[in-house]
């Protein structure tokens, strides 16, 4: 089979893979119309929905690729912004590091579906040669990250070519970028395999829980990394540069042995005399080692893809249950546990639990940069944290998926579906007031009343979560299942609900210049929103 033909055919398993990944994440597509289904209409909706879902997936992939390009370029910005010192080494190193992290974590999302042989189940029944089938599967695998990898490689290579005007440096960058992509994909594949294996094996081991927590934490760190993105050109790149090349100590030369710095040091060495010969020599030796590792990682990845295509992706023995005991709880607690388990076991929704880490880090960093905790700072910080918390109800709704069809058969009111999710979302926001309370121990507040702002925002987060979920349930109840793909409407409503008490505070302060009055106005607005949310819930 011609490679072009294989590439064309690879679209089928790729689309299936994307669709499966989307179906997991957006399981609510199949929620139907809460008992008001119309057979013909429903089928038509599903078809439209599938097409739309795939269009959205393509758009998402393009957006992620563009973001990856921005991420890869950001560390180089210091070279244009006149950052202190010549930061090529650290810019290259950080560019490789952040694209590695971002590509890996994005690929994990898609490859978790790829690890299941079901994505190529249809093709496997066709009369295809084994090699052709493997080639098609390999191409479908490449399709899941082609845009972002190619985008990052081109942008990194082009920028190094522009900055150094050296063919040698450009060639080394091309090699380093390609290696970086191979490493990222191999790590993602390895991680997806572990995730899939643990999923298949099941069991109630602590190791499984620890793995999920580790995964969530990784996402949190990535998000924090993205939060740091704009600090890269101004602070991190120049400082790292002086550490890497300025000090001249043995240990700083040894940094050249570490993966992301190796390429940066060699490229800088190729165009500048600022790097010692010993450092370049060490880095070159390391580069050869990493090259061999990349060849190994590439071969391992291809082998894994081939095994998956042959239906031998993950072989595991199931863990037999020691007993059949079942622990019953109250309906509310039972639902909370179910929501937490369902969302945290799905790689596509688990990372939303990392948002509290990001919220807290952002608030802490934002406030720790100032000598005094000004009220406006607290207002901005808390509302920003609130917006992050609003993603969680949508993630929990995603995790419900088709399962809600079953829940509808249980003696449960819609209120019971809303409250657990609102509680979980609100709980994830609680670290924000706590972080502020801790910071206020060390830094003076312009008004002591400001410490209550995040507490009142917590109420607004609870109300916003209720409205987000209710909005979804209402949309689904009226049969417009296609509209649930778009979360923008729900997020907008949620953000407005969070902003109303903040605006009440700001407006009252501008009118009275009195923090106590402003806080009362904010409290009044937050309580009024909560009262409306309770009313809406009671009517469910």
């Amino acid at each position: 089979m011609k490679p072009s033909e294989a590439w064309r055919l690879s679209r089928i398993p790729y689309r299936e893979m994307v669709y499966r990944s989307l179906a997991e994440e957006r399981g609510r597509m199949w929620w139907g119309a809460f008992g008001r289904n119309r057979p013909g209409k429903e089928a038509q909706d599903d078809l439209e929905l599938t097409k739309r879902a795939l269009r959205i997936a393509k758009f998402d992939k393009s957006v992620v690729a563009v973001f990856n390009v921005i991420v890869s370029l950001a560390p180089f910005a210091s070279l244009f912004l006149g950052g202190s010192g010549f930061g090529l080494t650290s810019a290259i190193s950080l560019s490789l590091a952040v694209t590695f992290g971002f590509t890996t974590l994005y690929a994990i999302q898609t490859l978790s579906s790829f690890m299941s042989p079901e994505s190529s189940a249809l093709l496997s029944t066709m009369p295809l040669e084994r090699d052709d089938f493997s080639l098609i599967t390999l191409f479908s695998f490449i399709r899941s990250f082609d845009y972002m990898v190619i985008g990052a490689i081109i942008s990194q290579v082009a920028l190094v070519a522009y900055l150094t005007a050296s063919p040698t440096a450009t060639l080394i960058m091309l090699l380093a970028s390609a290696m970086n992509a191979v490493f990222a994909v191999a790590v993602a594949l390895w991680f997806s395999r572990i995730f899939q294996r643990n999923m298949l094996r099941g069991g109630r081991s602590k190791a499984n829980t620890a793995l999920r927590l580790f995964f969530i934490l990784m996402w949190g760190l990535l998000l924090v990394g993205v939060g740091f993105l704009f600090s890269l050109p101004w602070y991190i790149v120049p400082n790292l540069q002086s550490t890497l090349l300025g000090a001249g100590h043995v240990w700083s030369s040894l940094l050249g042995l570490l993966y992301p710095f190796t390429s940066g040091i060699i490229i800088t060495g190729a165009v500048s005399s600022s790097v010692t010969f010993a450092t370049i020599l060490l880095a070159c030796a390391a580069m050869v080692g990493y090259g061999l590792l990349a060849v190994f990682a590439g071969k391992w990845s291809l082998g894994t893809v081939r095994r998956v295509s042959q239906g031998a992706g993950v072989n595991v023995a199931r863990v037999a249950a020691r007993d059949f005991s079942v622990k019953t709880r109250g309906p509310l607690l039972g639902y909370v546990y179910k929501d937490l388990k369902a969302a945290s076991r799905n790689p596509a929704t688990a990372f939303f639990f990392a948002l509290p880490v990001l919220e807290t880090v952002i608030i802490t960093l934002l406030d720790s940069n100032f000598g005094t905790l000004r009220t406006v700072l607290v207002l901005v910080g808390t509302s920003l944290g609130g917006v992050f918390a609003l993603f969680l109800p949508l993630a929990l709704l995603s995790a419900e998926g088709k399962g809600l069809e079953y829940t509808k058969t249980l003696p449960i009111s819609p209120r019971r579906i809303v409250v657990p999710k609102a509680l979980i979302a609100t709980a994830t926001y609680v670290p924000v007031p706590l972080a502020l309370a801790v910071i206020s121990l060390f830094k003076p507040l312009t008004s002591p009343a400001a410490i209550l702002i995040p507490v009142l925002t917590t109420l607004a987060v609870a109300s916003a979560s209720v409205f987000e979920i209710k909005l979804f349930l209402r949309t689904a109840a009226s049969g417009k299942i296609a509209s649930v793909i778009n979360d923008f409407e729900k997020l907008t409503v949620g953000m407005l609900i969070i902003l109303v008490p903040e605006v009440a505070y700001a407006a009252t302060f501008l009118a009275t210049f009195n923090h106590a009055f402003s806080l009362s106005a904010m409290g009044g607005a937050a309580l009024a929103e909560l009262a409306v949310a309770f009313y809406v819930l009671r009517r469910s």
Partner: protein, 272 residues
Amino acid sequence: MQTKFGSASEPLIETSALTKRFGSVQALTELNLRVMPGEIYGLLGPNGAGKTTTIKTILGLSEPTSGWVKVCSFDPVKSPIEVKSRIGYVAENPIVYDSLSPRDFLEFVASIRKTDQAAVNGLVGQLASAFDMASYFDSPIATLSLGMKQKVALIASLIHQPPVLLLDEPLNGLDAKSSRIVKELVSFHAQKGGAVLFSTHIMQVAEQVCTRIGIIYQGRVIAEGTLEELRGKTEGGGGTLEEVFLKLTHEEDEVADTMRMLREAFFKNEAK
């Protein structure tokens, strides 16, 4: 006379002139149904006859266009919680939370249904052992076979020991042993005074399991009774349930014509 679930003379499931329309599609027309305590009522019909719609309407998942439904004297439209708490339901395609394990899923169902822990553990333990679920009890449901998912759904439907069981093709994907167990469970449930509405399109299953059969065709119950009573309603007055069904739905000639056409098409090339 009283049963565990109330008066033996009061129907546990009753529908009257139940009609359901989906746009221009008439799914159910004036459907009348009564399932008494101790009865296993087989709802028998071809694909698209209205079996699943009937069950979903009884459960309250679908609102009737006209007519009414009563489950243990409760109207599913007005009292959905009361109705759902008295029903154990198994869907045609087992719907469960894929990312949960059977244990997690049953914990969730038992918690929502506010069941007693000791009673649940006794029942779940026995059913899970009977269904050989040890190797699957802590695996994500997404990784289970259709039959295993069906077993999970069956256990979930029995967890609160409801008076009414609505089983929509419950033997889908089950092996011979498990099918036998399910049939026995259904029989035990009826012996205790419960009512079972058992939807199937497999005649042998209806013959073996059901005490009374309703033949549903194009949204109407066209005949109802025991197997003997149904046989009596056909011209020859005998035959298997399949033959009775084809006669009552006037599909006998149609099936014969279709088979003749298929035979011609199938052996066309060989004749040349």
